[in-house]
Amino acid sequence: MNETTAHTHIQVGQQLQTGQQHPIRLYLFVWGLLFVLSAFSYMVDYLGFQGYLRWTLILLFMMLKAGLIVAVFMHMAWERLALVYAILLPPLLVLVFVALMVSEADYTIFTRLAFFGTGP
């Protein structure tokens, strides 16, 4: 263990072992933001946006909401990086699964159209 390097990056933890303690105002602010973002994503449907604009906005608002919930409500922003990486990196592998299944679905619809016309 290299103690000298370890001590050059001293981080004085903001939270004591008694638990996460943050001002109520922060939670109310995030709560408000989540309401606004939800209203925005509802408006995407209400105003009838279509195509790439619709999908981009849906994904944008979704990621912002998810980020706020995980970072503030679930206190991930104040956890050690070891926990943050251990929990948030593995779900990225789901994207690999998505890529696999996109390719598989393309093949399925190709065969359905090629052999059954418009099948089930």
Binding site: Q11, Q20, V30, W31, F35, S38, S41, V72, L81, D106
Partner: protein, 239 residues
């Protein structure tokens, strides 16, 4: 080993950044220095649950992409007839706001828990449970409406047959999570109200001393349920 495990009240002196990640994992001790095992295990459970819901949403994507039949338009399917006109997705929007509000009250409950204001904490948890129960109630209403309109896991009046099966599967599994969360909330709220976490009364199952961290761990589960709904709302209802 210069670093000691921070115990009650002392400031935490540890390397930050990637060096901290390496130091934490190579410390030959517990890797998650600031998270108790209870919190770490809840996080790992939530990670596994992420994969479960991830698989459901991927299954839905695959079904929707691979069918040549048009997918029913969720905007019309989930519209309600209010005041002489169809308002698209209105019930789902209300459900979203209810669930987000319940997340807000839960976050406040965790905060008041650590301030040791047990009655306020318990009341906020009960309010969270009430909002959660409202959500499940509205979901039951939505299911009833769709079932009376003829949606089945194998057919529906509007388009691709896979719509029903993915709808019942995904929202059903999410609703189950909310229901379990409501029960879990009521159990923890009772303990808070009784003062179990002030007296460090031992749990009936684990026999470990009660601590207000239980409220935060409960909160992690509840926020996760809200988090999953964010993804379901985006991919199933809006897409």
């Amino acid at each position: 080993m210069a670093q000691t495990i921070g115990t009650h009240g002392e400031p935490d002196l540890r390397p930050a950044g990637l060096r901290g990640v390496a130091a934490d994992f190579s410390s030959d001790q517990r890797a998650f220095k600031t998270a108790s095992w209870g919190k770490a295990m809840m996080w790992i459970f939530l990670l596994s649950d992420t994969f479960v819901f991830g698989c459901f949403l991927i299954a839905y994507m695959t079904a929707r992409m691979s069918t040549p039949v048009a997918w029913p338009n969720p905007s019309e399917v989930f519209a309600l007839h209010i005041g002489g006109q169809d308002v698209p997705l209105i019930l789902i929007a209300i459900m979203t706001f209810v669930l987000i509000s319940s997340s807000g009250t839960m976050a406040m409950a965790v905060n008041f828990g650590y301030r040791r204001e047990r009655h306020r904490t318990a009341m906020l948890m009960l309010l969270t449970a009430l909002l959660g129960a409202c959500f499940v109630g509205m979901q039951a209403f939505e299911w009833t409406k769709l079932i009376t309109e003829g949606v089945r896991p194998w057919e529906n009046p509007w388009g691709a047959a896979q719509f029903g099966s993915t709808f019942f599967m995904i929202t059903g599994f999410h609703g189950t999570h909310v229901t379990i969360g409501v029960i879990f909330l009521l159990i923890v709220a009772r303990k808070v109200w009784r003062g179990d976490f002030d007296q460090e009364r031992r749990g009936f199952f684990t026999s470990r001393r009660g601590r207000y961290e239980a409220v935060e761990i409960m909160g992690l589960y509840w926020h996760f349920v809200d988090l999953v709904w964010v993804f379901i709302f985006a991919f199933f209802y809006l897409w």
